[in-house]
Symmetry: C2
Subunit: 453 residues, 2 copies
């Protein structure tokens, strides 16, 4: 791998230039700004690499194009590694908090600043550049490399399933390297093996056709009370009361428990950042890690009804709404749970409550025993050295469309913990940008040459 | 009374002019517009009547002046009747829905249009003009007449209790004629004998110092769930679960039940107006009347937490709020109930929920056997004739500061059911304006000459 690493080091400035070029092209999926132009630019970069790009579309209006490409390996054409990335970025607002314009990338203090530098254009360029390194140093890649680069990750990957159905070949591989990763707050490389799923619903209770004076509460039912009563049948303390909710929950393996024990604790940092003294159920230590990685949750994201301005207003509202997100774990099925939720409300006498599904994704979790997991961990040990041993996160508490691939999938890369993703002054540490390329390249090589357990 | 009634008829145009003069002076307590000027104008009108007006104040900044006056009776100085009215009005918005400017009164189709025509400047002028009629026709009033005219009725009479404490003499009388009344939707005169009380509170649940990503719901408690759970311990179906809530509730007397049975039903009109098919507990007939007149209620006026815009946002809010109004009946004590509510939440494990009282007033209910009640009913029978027999409403479902006077009190007047109080194109029917003066005058005379049961 020495020649590959040397090449990566030697083209550092060109890699930074390529990143700056990509950041200069706005690509805000929330507004559509620059999306088509950015897809073309990414395709051109794949073209220059020799990766036979295609710009795919689905017929639904407004879907961002999906850019795919592939480089076949001569030495190892039986195995394929897919890199999942995205070219879209979060909106740059609030603009006044940026120290330099978000789409005019700037290098300062060993970092590149600009919207998308970290999430996800840095990772995307990294994967193109490490591929170039293999091709230049070896004249080949260690196995087939596939690129799948979407333009709607920041708006919930809402058309990715349609792309999957229309172009299933583009999603096929032996394993996947996910779009994010890097070093944690302690500087240790972190391998993330999964994400939680989600079922996001809206509950609406209605009664009268208009708001009424609250003196009529003596005779007219209040939908806010209906909603409160219905919600209260869904969850008590931290238990979800919908029958069968936990039926398909996959237990942690012994190995996963060991990994959780060894993972660094985020307990104090979260308590400090959010100013909370204790956690749900007074959880501490391993319980906190288990909850973040593998506990199904039910969270009120929003609730509203009636008058919420200053002072008293005596109104009986005619509608009440709640937005709820359930985080799911393997092997829960969001559509099955949606049915169970509706049945639960109906059977509890709340058939008047309207339930609408807004978003749903399954969870995904890759075994640490998988070849791609072992490759990433082993590579991190070698590259980062004994002072910064890798940490394995068996599942992020957050959600992403990993489940669509239905493949072993790991999240590693060149990020760091102060990169300010989604916020002003987003940035990428150049040393980690380069380090991340080497780590992913080495992982790909170990994966390509390794055998299943 | 014939001379008095003849005088009222003969000065009809001057009464309308006086009303128009008063409506021309804006007096919006919500914004303060014209309040001081209107108080002076009302005092000048009392002065012209010979009622020795005083413009009172309390030291609290921003309190509207209270205007009081009195005319002593030569023939019957042992008995005093107090007229409670208000000179302030609701804001005129939305202006574009008025057919003529709200503070430029206009006569059309037998009605006077303008903000405050009905609520409450028409009643106020009516009481001054009927007093003038007694003085011109008889050279005396049938008993002492007291006037208490406040400027904050439309903003919850928030300083009236302070006025009461500072100027208790101004609130003393034998009975009170309340500020509103008139004919119902069937054209029958309605005598209202009471109002419900209110306890308006805000409940606030808090946890983290900032909102969090909803993936942290696995470990950070959500205050919206806390609030929902706490609310659910306060009410179930239509029962308030706070221990002791119903302890002081005064039962209906047999006579009150009889009056309820005889009162016209609002059931179909309310169902039609609000588009509801059935009422709380499927109440019908007498149950609806009993609920409106005498059932303690607990109503969510507003609830809010987190994100309530379009689409999904995965947030764990750090605060949740609910505004609740409890309508009270005789003899419930709002401050006692506030203590009980707080104790209930504390004992139920919700000491983290902050409870703030925003407004509280006791209920008030006058017996139909009281002299003033009998006078109003008897007078209505005579004046409106057998085709329009009076109806007795033992309590309005709404709330007002009647309890402060702690006196027999009835609400009668010259209003009608389409006067659009608080809304654009507020209006007063001139025939009812004149009829209401005669009714109140005759009631005052019967009250003055009558004896207690």
């Amino acid at each position: 791998m020495k020649q590959v690493f040397d090449y990566i080091d030697s083209v550092k400035d060109r890699s930074i230039e390529a990143l700056k070029q990509l950041v200069r092209q706005p690509s805000v999926s929330a507004t559509g700004q620059g999306i088509k132009e950015c897809a073309s630019l990414v395709a051109k970069m794949l073209e220059n690499l020799g990766a036979s790009p295609k710009i795919l579309d689905v017929e639904k209006g407004g879907a961002s194009p999906l850019v795919v490409g592939e480089i076949r390996s001569k030495m190892n054409p039986q195995k394929t590694l897919l890199f999942y990335n995205h070219y879209d970025v979060q909106p740059p607002e609030p603009l006044e908090q940026w120290e330099s314009p978000p789409f005019e990338p700037r290098v300062s203090g060993g970092r590149v600043y600009g919207r998308g530098c970290a999430d996800d254009k840095g990772e995307l360029i990294g994967r193109l550049k490490l591929t170039e390194a293999f091709l230049e140093a070896w004249g080949d890649v260690p196995c087939n490399f596939k690129f799948l680069i979407e333009g709607e990750e920041e708006t919930g990957s809402i058309h990715l399933e349609e792309y999957f159905k229309k172009y299933p070949e583009s999603f096929k591989a032996d394993s996947v390297v996910w779009e994010f990763g890097g070093i944690n707050v302690e500087g240790r490389p972190m391998v993330t093996l999964g994400v939680k799923g989600i079922l996001y619903v809206e509950l609406v209770a209605r009664n009268a056709k208009v708001d009424a004076h609250s003196s009529l509460a003596a005779i007219i039912d209040n939908p806010a009370w209906r909603l409160v009563a219905a919600l209260n049948t869904i969850k008590k303390a931290d238990k979800i009361l919908v029958p069968g909710w936990y039926k398909d929950v996959r237990s942690f393996t012994k190995e996963e428990i060991e990994l959780l024990k060894r993972a660094p604790s985020e307990e104090q940092a979260i308590k400090r950042n959010y100013g909370v003294k204790s956690f749900v159920n007074r959880a501490r230590g391993l319980e906190v890690k288990k909850a973040l990685a593998g506990k199904p949750t039910c969270n009120i994201c929003g609730i509203s009804s009636g008058y919420n301005g200053p002072g008293p207003k005596t109104v009986l509202p005619n509608e009440a709404r709640a937005k709820i997100d359930f985080r799911l774990v393997p092997d829960q099925d969001p559509l099955d749970l949606l049915r169970k939720l509706k049945r639960h409300l109906n059977q509890g006498g709340f058939s008047d409550i309207e339930v609408t599904s807004i978003e749903h994704e399954r969870a995904s979790r890759t075994s640490p025993k998988q070849l791609i997991s072992r490759a990433a961990i082993e590579s991190a040990k070698q590259l980062y050295g004994p002072s910064r041993p890798p940490t394995v996160n068996i599942s992020s508490a957050a959600t992403g469309p990993m489940y669509l691939f239905d493949l072993p999938c790991i999240a590693i890369g060149g990020g760091h913990s102060e990169s300010r993703n989604h916020a002003p002054n987003e940035n990428l540490r150049i040393d980690q940008f380069i380090m991340g390329m080497k780590w992913v390249a080495d992982t790909a090589n170990l994966f390509a040459s390794g055998t299943k357990e």
